[in-house]
């Protein structure tokens, strides 16, 4: 057997060898069987010898099996594949970049305890204007060039009607955020579309002030654009807030530069990017929804989603967002 062992080059051959010597009909087993026929005095000696041979054979086979297994693993370990061969990709879906941007904003506000409110796209002009302190024929209505489907029904030009609906249905305090589509009469070009998305936030409670507005919005900018963002208020005019302020954030395109770059496409060299409009809710608006402006105050903020999505993805033509081109959907997912 010792002579045959090295020739067993794989485990099948080794098993055959084990059967040949140690199996039921194996040579060693056969010898063991004849021990009984030997004279009594010879049996212990013969039995011991055949047991030793059997044990030695078992050990030799086991030893050889270990070395064969080591060889096998060694050769498996030495194999290589071309790991750069193209992957087989799963069929995945994706969320549109507009919804993603909108959700990122909404999620920030949800973390601060804001409820999220949706509403209809056809609105009354009372919700869209009158209740927001923009009476009929007010010059400010001109800024909201709206599309009407009835004399008093229009496609909402901003998501503010949802603020009116929510305040009328709920007593203060409240904190809501209202994402949604809006419409204004505009021809479609690289910078404009008649449809756009907006997110507005509103909080009404006793004792709110502009510092709270600044605190929440600073946090929002940092959540969306990075921890180094700073914020500034520029006075402005909106009929529904007083004081009113435009909100600028440090230009994400110029961030990290010593000075804003003059050719920056995001800020045009000012170092600031316009984010949206904000302010303290006008007492007339609070009165219009049945709140007492002496008991509560509120702040509101509105932001356009497309521009932010464009900045985040480096898109410079707004139409790209609405073409839903397969390659672009994949690219932006």
């Amino acid at each position: 057997m010792q002579a045959a062992l090295p020739e067993a080059s794989d485990r099948d051959a080794l098993e055959a060898l084990r059967v040949r010597f140690l199996g039921r009909q194996g040579e060693i087993t056969q010898i063991r069987r004849v021990i009984g026929s030997l004279p009594t005095v010879q049996r212990p000696e013969a039995g011991k010898r055949i047991n030793d041979v059997a044990a030695a054979s078992e050990a030799a086979i086991a030893q050889h099996e270990r070395s064969l297994r080591a060889n096998e693993l060694g050769s498996e370990l030495s194999q290589t594949i071309d790991v750069t061969f193209p992957p087989i990709l799963p069929e995945t879906g994706s969320i549109h970049p507009i919804r993603r941007t909108m959700e990122d904003i909404v999620t920030y506000f949800e973390r601060h305890g804001f409820a999220v409110v949706l509403g209809p796209e056809i609105e009354t002009d009372e919700h869209s204007f009158d209740a927001l302190n923009i009476p009929a024929h007010h010059p400010a209505r001109e800024g909201f060039d709206s599309m009407y489907v009835r004399s008093d029904l229009l496609l909402r030009p901003h998501t503010s009607p949802m603020q009116i609906r929510t305040m009328r249905a709920n007593p203060p305090p409240l904190a809501i955020v209202t994402p949604g589509k809006c419409f204004r009469r505009d021809s479609v070009d690289a910078r404009h579309t008649y449809m756009f998305h907006q997110v507005e936030a509103l909080q009404v409670a006793p004792g709110l002030h502009m510092g709270h507005l600044k605190g929440v919005l600073t946090g929002m900018c940092r959540a969306l654009l990075g921890p180094r963002q700073s914020l500034r208020f520029r006075p402005s005019f909106f009929p529904f807030t007083e004081p009113s302020a435009e909100v600028d954030t440090s230009c994400p395109g110029c961030l990290g530069n010593e000075r804003p770059s003059a050719g920056c496409r995001t800020c045009g060299g000012s170092g600031w990017m316009e984010l949206g409009g904000s302010g303290m809710v006008h007492p007339n608006v609070l009165r219009n929804v049945g709140y007492d402006p002496d008991a509560v105050s509120g702040w509101a903020f509105g932001i356009g989603i497309e521009r932010l999505a464009m900045v985040r993805h480096g898109i410079d033509d707004i139409r790209v967002l609405f073409e839903n081109d397969t390659a672009i959907l994949k690219q932006l997912a």
């Binding site: 069929e91 879906g93 409110v117 796209e121 489907v149 449809m195 004081p243 105050s297 397969t326």
Partner: protein, 804 residues
């Protein structure tokens, strides 16, 4: 509006670089949209023409001797025709730079070198307005005429601040008072703590008879509430002083003559539009503010005749309308070179009336953009007094003004507590700051302290030009923005306790996430359509719901609201004609017209496109995949399993559509695209499947309940059943379930075979039944008897037999 920094300097000493002025204005609420830099002309001084001689060698050249304030006069040759002795003119000396003719809007600089002109060594050049960098066509042909009293030798660039840029300032509609140089100067003065130099006013010339002695004013329309009229006599029409013309030109206003220029100057300076009538051409010496007569023709300054309705508000004399109130003057009483006397109008009109008239007539003017924002009436007298001062400087006799109309209401005092300022802005403002800021903006402020020394009470009276400030928060905004919002410290607000539901949003987000997980990509198309979309559906033989139309669409492709989300998805599939695997979805609002109001729903629609595929006509693998998506989606959204039945849905194949319901409520439809639509959209032989859910119908999700799995082995039995072809698989399973006795763990159909041994009106379906007990191992005998009872029930119920 255009704001010339040169002009701004008349009212305050501004020593800031332009980008800091721009920043300041922005932080006061007046963003600057553009900065127009001026050509850097230099070396130009004021000179007087002492004498003019003909050039000995050139007919067209003349030689001027010019006193530029030095000992020795300069000799300069010029080809300009308008030079005369004693004129005061700009002189570019040797080494100076003047502006050349603009090329593509850019003006290069040209250096003045000594040069021989036909043998004469010219010591410089006399300059036109264009050579100073101004709009040449707006000034006299030839050399710019300066005023006689201009100090000789002084630097023209410094004198007129010609290097100062012009800003394009954005003024919000509530601040009509700031649509003028003084208004913006006051803002900067308040923010920078600089004194403001107010323009000089003069009501009238002493001892002149009052305007009322000879002129009447009648206000017949309530939309003209206040009117100041003033007569000026002894006029000489000529050119306005150079400083005025240059300021006007820098502000984008073409100089005309000394009278018209004054009316424009006052409007740009103080924000009050004025109108000058040729007094002698006013019939009956009577100015009447009235509604126009229907069909009345008004001829405006530009000579255009406008036929109007009574919606127009006109200023008329006793014969005819002489102009549109607050919008544009008329041709008949226009100021001309022959004008010797004029009547000034400084009046208040209701802004909406002016705006509607301007919209109806299709033009706007500098006057109407101000009037339509309702200028406070107190400015009428102010504007008149400023014009009166400037006209008297031109030698006019100013007759005491005639004021007509409602008395001007005095602004009520607004009571403001220091605590209110702090509570709204979030930072404390000192009494001194409050008083100084408001005073600088023209408010009258009285501060008093109560028992609590920290609480001050301010009585604040807004200036007459600030009609936008009426309540305490308005005053607080004035304080906050002038001091600067950079004083605000960011602070997180308290959490509020509320019970407003986010369910609708959460549902939408879950739908989007679930579909994305199933491999669908979200699309967001523009959501208005042309009439063509509904027509395509009609052409395909489908009847869309009544569409909602926009009454004032900007274009035909933005005329209709969507009645379905299908069109956008189908158009996308059509566009990607080579793609055979497409999975897209959209969540959007759809509309159907109704009476009185349109009906609006929020839908999610998904589309699945698969390659052509051979299979028996009663089977559709793509449909089963779609159905799998729909049931998974509903399971994710509701926590429950949907029941499936044949159904119908707009745009889907009538025989290949399923409705999915939960708790007997139909929530979703899924099916094969109606082949007529596939043909209409030219989708080829690709397989197209659609699903849709009305989001409002979705119940709130429930969490699945835990049920302990059985510890005992299950027994599976496969049955081949022959049933009628019209028996849906779900009905067989439902019948099995109905006969369940508690050991049924699962039952499902896994094959549908037709033909061969199976009779032609029948089909053979393979059903797998899984039986299992919770309390013990199910024996074969038990299983057999259970299967037998199921078969018995199926036979009774639908004539099902075991296939032999």
């Amino acid at each position: 509006m255009k704001l010339s920094i040169a002009w701004l300097r008349d009212y305050l000493d501004l020593n800031l670089p332009v980008d800091e002025i721009v920043e300041r204005l922005a932080l006061l609420g007046f963003p600057v949209d553009g900065v127009e830099h001026r050509p850097r002309v230099n070396g130009i001084v004021v000179g007087r023409i002492l004498s003019i001689e003909a050039h000995p060698n050139a007919d067209r050249l003349r030689i001027c001797r010019i006193d530029v304030g030095c000992a020795e006069p300069l000799g300069i040759a010029t080809a300009a025709a308008n030079v005369a002795e004693n004129q005061v003119v700009p002189v570019a000396t040797i080494g100076a730079h003047v502006a050349s003719e603009p090329v593509n809007g850019q003006r290069a600089l040209q250096r003045i070198d000594p040069r021989k002109m036909r043998g004469f060594e010219s010591q410089g050049m006399l300059c036109s307005a264009a050579e100073l960098g101004l709009e040449g066509t707006w000034f006299e042909d030839g050399i710019l005429q300066l005023d006689q009293d201009t100090p000789l030798g002084s630097d023209v660039v410094e004198l007129f601040h010609l290097h100062d840029p012009v800003l394009d300032v954005d003024v919000t509609p509530n601040r009509v008072d700031a649509m003028c140089v003084v208004g913006l100067a006051r803002e900067l003065a308040a923010a920078l703590h600089l004194p403001l130099r107010e323009p000089t006013l003069s009501r009238q010339t002493e001892n002149a008879p009052p305007t009322s002695a000879d002129l009447r004013v009648s206000l017949l329309s309530a939309d003209c509430s206040h009117f100041v009229a003033q007569r000026f006599s002894g006029l000489r029409v000529g050119i306005a002083p150079a400083w005025m013309r240059i300021r006007l030109a820098l502000s984008g206003q073409r100089p005309i003559n000394n009278l018209v220029d004054i009316s424009n100057f006052v409007m740009l300076e103080l924000g009050q539009p004025l109108h000058f009538y040729d007094y002698e051409r006013l019939a009956g010496r009577h100015l009447i503010a009235r509604d126009a007569r229907d069909g009345e023709i008004v001829r405006t300054l530009d000579g255009v005749d406008h036929r109007v309705t009574s919606a127009a508000l006109v200023i008329a004399d006793e014969e005819r309308a002489q102009g549109f109130a607050g919008l544009k003057g008329g041709a008949f009483s226009e100021v001309t070179t022959a004008t010797r006397e004029l009547a000034l109008e400084s009046a208040t009109f209701v802004g909406t009336r002016v705006r509607r008239m301007s919209l109806a007539l299709g033009f706007r003017t500098d006057a109407s953009t101000r009037h339509e924002k309702s200028i406070p009436p107190a400015l009428n007298a102010l504007g008149a007094a400023r014009a009166s001062y400037l006209l008297q400087k031109q030698g006019a006799i100013a007759h005491a003004p005639l004021e007509t109309g409602k008395p001007i209401p005095t602004a009520a005092a607004i009571t403001l507590r220091s605590s209110a300022v702090r509570n709204l802005l979030g930072f404390a403002v000192t009494t001194e700051e409050t008083t100084r800021t408001l005073t600088a903006l023209g408010f009258r402020v009285t501060a008093t302290s109560g028992r609590d020394l920290r609480e001050m009470t301010f009585s604040v009276i807004p200036p007459p030009w600030r009609a936008d400030v009426t309540i305490p928060v308005d005053v607080i905004e004035e304080i906050g923005r002038t001091i600067g919002y950079d004083r605000i410290t960011a602070e997180l607000p308290p959490l509020v306790e509320q019970s407003i539901s986010s369910a609708e949003y959460v549902r939408e987000r879950r739908v989007a996430d679930a579909l994305a997980t199933l491999g669908y990509r979200e699309i967001v198309p523009l959501a208005l359509e042309s009439a063509g979309v509904a027509m395509r559906f009609e052409r395909a033989g489908l009847l869309p719901p009544p569409v909602v139309e926009i009454r004032n669409p900007l274009s035909e492709d933005q005329r209709f609201l969507r009645f379905s989300l299908l069109a956008g998805l189908l158009a996308l599939v059509a566009k990607n004609e080579r793609e055979t695997h497409i999975a897209r979805f959209e969540i959007g609002h759809v509309f159907a017209d109704g009476d009185p109001d349109p009906h609006e729903r929020v839908l999610v629609t998904w589309i699945l496109v698969r390659p052509p595929h051979e299979e028996p006509p009663w089977q559709d693998e793509g449909f089963r995949i779609s159905l799998g998506h729909a049931t998974t989606l509903l399971r994710t959204l509701t926590g429950k399993d949907a029941a499936v039945r044949p159904g119908q849905s707009f745009g889907l194949h009538p025989g290949k559509t399923a409705e999915l319901s939960i708790d007997e409520r139909v929530l979703a439809h899924v099916g094969v695209l109606d082949p007529r639509l596939a043909a209409e959209y030219d989708l080829g032989n690709r397989r197209v499947y659609l699903g849709t859910i009305d989001l409002a119908l979705l119940p709130d999700p429930v969490l699945p309940r835990y049920r302990e799995p059985s510890k005992y082995p299950a027994v599976e039995r496969d049955l081949a059943l022959v049933v009628g072809r019209d028996v849906p698989a779900a009905e067989v399973i439902a019948a099995i379930r109905a006969s369940a006795n508690g050991t049924l763990a699962d039952a499902h159909v896994f094959d549908d075979y037709r033909g061969g041994q199976v009779p032609s009106e029948k089909k053979s379906i393979a059903v797998r039944i899984v039986l299992q007990r919770d309390d013990a191992t199910l024996t074969d005998t038990e299983a057999d008897s259970y299967v037998a009872s199921i078969l018995d029930a199926l036979h009774k119920r639908m004539g099902a037999v075991i296939r032999s």
